[in-house]
Symmetry: C2
Subunit: 336 residues, 2 copies
């Protein structure tokens, strides 16, 4: 039989309650505390977390949803993020459980609600900001502690963390302008996403800040994927009325790179190419970048911190926007 709190209590000639107190750093006489600790060590006692969880109605698990996007190699977002989350979770003696992306929003909603109802998960970090407001409201109704990455409709009282990607694109675009470019093609993601709108605005502000008049023809919209970037660049390439490209993200940038190469256009000789992403720029073509200081890692940490704050004070809603850095690297012939 495994050793329990009672065994420790008996051998230390105290009550189980006292042992519980030293276990949880509650006020205990110095001397008894010492004695109990010795017995714990001697008996090799390890508190049963299942019992503790049960008694305290706390699972000590937080859930993190994995976005399906994480399955495309371009999207390194999730793992780095996860490292940040885990660092903070570990510090709070919590474990991190992965909530699978089930495909349909309804299924995911049900799973998230179910795991919470069963007391299996104390709170969530949601990295799937594509949920509809209705879903968020459902979560709020159950009073599920929640932190969301990215942006959520303003009126919904949920904590969010996000990287300032408008600023990122602003920096990327400014970089091109400083290189002397004026006609800069912007490869945008679908504009119905807040984040796409944000980044487009970053591009526009950079132009305006330098008194360059934006040209609607230089803004091409497609999926924010490798293929989307490829398609968008191909569509724009024929009249080649630009000298540089700023892409919504790395994936689109790489897609565009492929399109340019197919046409024999030298990058960056003939066309300069810049992509912004929450990871350090050029991740894809700079595989060995260390990631610890990337914004995403910080984002993970901040998200977790915020969740634990929420766990303690359920009404503490907060938003956080982290600044980004532009890192320019020459790589595979592209400024990416």
């Amino acid at each position: 039989m495994r050793v329990t709190i009672k065994d420790v209590a008996k051998l230390a000639s105290v009550s189980p309650a006292t042992v519980s107190k030293v276990l949880n750093n509650k006020p205990v006489k110095q001397e008894t505390g010492q004695r109990v600790k010795e017995v714990i060590k001697k008996l090799d006692y390890h508190p049963n977390l299942l019992a503790k969880s049960f008694a305290r109605k706390i699972s000590y698990h937080i859930g993190v949803t994995v976005s399906t996007g994480a399955l495309t190699p371009v999207d390194q977002f999730f793992l780095i993020f996860l490292q940040g989350v885990m660092e903070v979770a570990t510090a709070n003696t919590y474990s991190v459980s992965i909530v699978p992306a089930l495909g349909s929003e309804q299924e995911e909603e049900n799973l998230i609600k179910e795991m919470f109802r069963k007391n299996m998960i104390d709170g969530y970090i949601l990295t799937n900001p594509y949920y509809s407001p209705r879903t968020f409201l459902e979560f709020l109704k159950l009073d599920i502690p929640l932190v969301v990455t990215g942006r959520v409709q303003e009126s919904i009282p949920i904590s969010t963390v996000d990287a300032n990607s408008a600023e990122g694109i602003y920096l990327a675009t400014s970089h091109l302008i400083e290189l002397g470019h004026e006609r800069i093609l912007f490869l945008s993601g679908p504009k119905q996403y807040f984040v796409c709108e944000d980044r487009l605005n970053g591009y526009l502000s950079a132009l305006r800040a330098r008194k360059i008049k934006p040209d609607g023809k230089l803004i091409i919209e497609d999926d924010f994927t490798f293929e989307g970037g490829y398609r968008a660049a191909r569509r724009a390439i024929d009249d080649l009325d630009f000298t540089a490209i700023c892409a919504y993200n790395d994936a689109m940038a790489i897609g565009a790179l492929k399109a340019l190469q197919e046409k024999g256009i030298k990058v960056p000789r003939q066309v300069s190419l810049v992509g912004y992403d929450d990871l350090p720029i050029g991740t894809m073509l700079q595989p060995m970048l260390t990631t610890v200081h990337s914004p995403i890692y910080q984002l993970g940490k901040e998200a977790a911190k915020m969740l634990f704050a929420n766990l303690k004070d359920r009404d503490n809603i907060d938003d956080l926007i982290l600044p980004v850095k532009l890192i320019v690297r020459e790589s595979c012939g592209a400024v990416l």
Copy 2:
């Protein structure tokens, strides 16, 4: 107050024991079962998993270690693997917890042992095959259900799953031979790793199968990373006594690609380049590959299945080696 099994029992005019039985699909009279189920629905009852875990001494969580390698963008291994694990875990009503890579083997060992002792995790899938035999023995001593990816010293009785990477390299090398190459450079990882030895053997067998005499000078060893591939290729490039390169993995292949490009060598025009990895070949430069049918995904599923088998029958040790497929793609100018 939340609704418990007792509330259900009362309203259905049965005992809690009976409700428990219908909850766990144990033999119950059709009619009572029906009645109980109706009450459950009516009361919106959700069994408290914390209580269940406590009573049954089962956490319903399995742990998966994340390899630090997963933090380099080249290594897409982990997320895909995880999807496979989760699919099986979900089917078994288990959750998947991530065990952080702490850096030192000792720290990780302690964490793994500690979480198990605390009943927090019922079993592990270890994706860090770099653990020393001593560590594995420690786990066995505590009787921790374990499945390891990759290879473990034969004498240690632990279940493993692995992709047949020797076969992968064999196929990759054969592909080059069929293209007409005879002098094929092999970029090897450090030979003290079983898997590196395996893959080198795959290369050698392919040569021998076609009656090509292996040349020791054509085998270069370095880290199995992007940088390692870059360094290895640079070292070999000067006497350029080869017409093709087979790399231990994608990372090294991409490193080599960079080295070749720097020297103005056209790939695949002047030098053919092939890399093998557990993911479909060319992941890096084929970002939009679907991953569901990749070996790694299967590997994750098999690992999880094996773990659950072990969970039920603690003495059931098994090894599994999955076959691989060679997928050749033209991409960014390289056959990768």
